[in-house]
């Protein structure tokens, strides 16, 4: 009877059903993560391994990207400011842009591409090759070992990476500002810290924690629920990146609203 009813449904309503089913699955997945994370056994070694892969191994890429972002953003902002003779405001402008938005956002997007897709593909291939089933059979909790460790690693490594990105991007901006405006490093950093507040730093950390969690949980969810063989692995990797990036922008918007509300209090 139910089968007959489902065949009667048109494509559009089927997609709506799929969307809400997926949302419920995702919610359950997140709920399960929070249930498992506080329960022993704690896979410290695996967390460290994942931290190394996600944090240390991403550092060169993130650093280079951050440096380039700092240089390019400074260079692109200069003409607009020089139009009304305000190039001395470059450090303040870059500091606000990097600390408030670009540092966390660029780091999260790079990490979503590099780490998120890796997690999705890795767990997806484990799923289609039934390694996860094998782990369950061998009395190992695959969720705890694969999902919790990776989500924890991304959640804690992305904020650290953001710190590096902020620093490196500001250094890139300094190189550009120093070359063009001959501003000393002390003056540059005085102006940088003059423009930002504690709220900016804390919102940046909060955002990066949220972004890290999102990258990890999306990658794991997509990998853990992949199907249809090797094609499914590819899809899982792709969906991990796309959905993580999309959610990062949504979260950026939400956090921005909250921080703006706090700032105006």
């Amino acid at each position: 009877m139910a089968e007959q009813a489902s065949t009667r449904k048109n494509v559009f309503s089927k997609k709506i059903d799929k969307f809400f089913t997926g949302l419920a699955d995702a919610w359950n997945f997140v709920k399960r993560f929070f249930q498992e994370v506080f329960l022993p056994p704690y896979e410290f070694k695996e967390v460290i391994q994942q931290c190394y892969r996600i944090g240390v191994e991403s550092l060169p890429l993130i650093s280079l990207t951050g440096f380039i972002v700092g240089v390019v953003f400074t260079n692109q902002s200069r003409p607009s400011l020089s139009e009304f003779g305000a190039t001395s405001w470059l450090p303040a402008l870059i500091s606000i842009a990097v600390v408030r938005a670009m540092g966390p956002l660029v780091t999260a997007l790079i990490a979503a591409g590099k780490v998120g897709s890796g997690i999705g593909a890795e767990i997806g291939s484990m799923k289609v090759t039934e390694q996860i089933d094998a782990m369950e059979v061998s009395a190992t909790n695959p969720f705890k070992f694969l999902v919790v460790t990776r989500v924890l690693a991304t959640t804690f490594m992305i904020p650290v990476l953001v710190m590096y990105t902020d620093f490196v991007a500001l250094m890139g901006a300094f190189v550009n500002v120093n070359t063009n405006e001959l501003v000393s490093i002390s003056t540059f950093f005085v102006q940088v810290f003059d423009a930002i507040t504690f709220l900016d730093i804390f919102s940046s950390i909060l955002k990066s924690l949220l972004f890290g969690f999102t990258i990890g949980i999306v990658g794991c969810y997509k990998g853990y629920n992949s199907s249809k063989g090797t094609e499914g692995v590819g899809r899982a990797a792709n969906a991990s990146v796309v959905i993580a990036m999309f959610l990062i922008f949504i979260e950026e918007l939400l956090v921005l609203q909250i921080v703006t509300a706090i700032r105006s209090m």
């Binding site: 190394y52 650290v160 620093f167």
Partner: protein, 322 residues
């Protein structure tokens, strides 16, 4: 196992450096924004804070010394701003200092500027209220500017009317510009003026030469100008002259009184001069006297030949003959 440990060390180092960057950032930020220094809290009440926000900087003599801590409404519609000022700087801010709202550059954030204050007042203390001076209102400035613009339009309109009249040859300036005869007259006037100025130049040169002579030592005028002893002499002479003129004035007054009396008939001379009856009588008297004198002369001549007087006359003639 070794590989795992190595990775753990790398992760530890990685996290440590990340946290170090964060801590250094927070400390620098706190230090720069005076979050970790002891502060004195002052207040100032403004009518309008013009968009001032919590956390905006406070400047004193061009140095950042604190931040705006709180902004509250006060009284009817005033705004009380609570200022957090470094304790180490408070000793330089006097109780009669003033606070105003300014801007960090043309397009910068709003700031509070503390200025003024004299050393005869003590330094500010916790909770002191500074006198708030309202900054220049941009809207009012724009209103004035608008008024100026209107005036400028009026002036240009007037100028337009004037120039059109001038172009049409109306009025003196228009006539000068358009009438060739008047222009020729003006040219002549200018030539005359030129000549007059040449003459005045010559006169100035003469005056200059004269002043040179004046300055030449040994001349009377130079002595007059430079010799201080002569000045005292001149002053004495002037005093004498003044005394003389006073005496002359008194004399003139007396003469006026005499002439006044002479014009009346209540005294002998006035009577003599002014009464015609008396003059007539006097004339008769004089005529009679003249006649008497004539007769007396005749008598005397007769007496010369009369004895005994004839002897006396003879002796006199004899003495004069000798």
């Amino acid at each position: 196992m070794i590989k795992e440990n190595k990775r753990a060390v790398w992760v530890g180092l990685f996290v440590l450096i990340g946290i170090a960057i964060l801590v250094v950032g927070i400390l620098t930020l706190g230090g720069q924004q005076k979050k970790f220094v002891k502060a004195v809290h002052l207040t100032a009440v403004f009518d309008d804070v013009g968009g001032l926000q919590t956390g905006n900087n406070i400047w004193f003599s061009g140095v950042k010394i604190g931040t705006v801590r709180k902004i509250n409404f006060f009284g009817d519609s005033q705004v009380e701003v609570e200022l957090s000022v470094e304790e180490s700087v408070a000793e330089f801010i006097r109780k009669n200092s003033k606070a105003t709202i300014s801007s960090d550059g043309l397009i910068g954030n709003k700031i509070i500027v503390i200025y003024g204050g004299t050393t005869d007042f003590p330094a500010v203390e916790e909770g002191d209220k500074l006198e708030a001076i309202m900054p220049l209102d941009t809207d009012k400035m724009m209103e004035t500017l608008q008024e100026n613009n209107k005036n400028l339009v009026d002036i240009t309109n007037d100028l337009k009317v004037l120039t059109s009249k001038m172009a049409a040859g109306e009025g003196i300036i228009g006539a000068v510009l358009t009438d060739s005869l008047l222009a020729e007259n003006f040219r002549t006037i200018l030539v005359n003026l030129n000549r007059a100025s040449a003459n005045s130049n010559k006169m100035i040169a003469d005056l200059s030469a004269f002043s040179v002579k004046l300055n030449k030592k040994g001349t009377l005028i130079n002595d007059l100008v430079t010799d201080t002893s002569m000045v005292s002499d001149l002053r004495a002479t002037l005093d004498h002259l003044r005394t003389t003129s006073e005496s002359t004035e008194a004399l003139t007054k007396q003469l006026a009184e005499i002439s006044k009396k002479l014009n009346t008939t209540d005294n002998s001379l006035g009577l003599l001069l002014n009464d015609p009856e008396f003059a007539k009588s006097l004339k008769n008297t004089l005529e009679q006297t003249d006649s008497a004198t004539f007769h007396l002369s005749k008598g005397m001549e007769a007496l010369e030949y009369t004895w005994p007087f004839n002897k006396g006359f003879k002796r006199k003639a004899k003495a004069s003959g000798n």
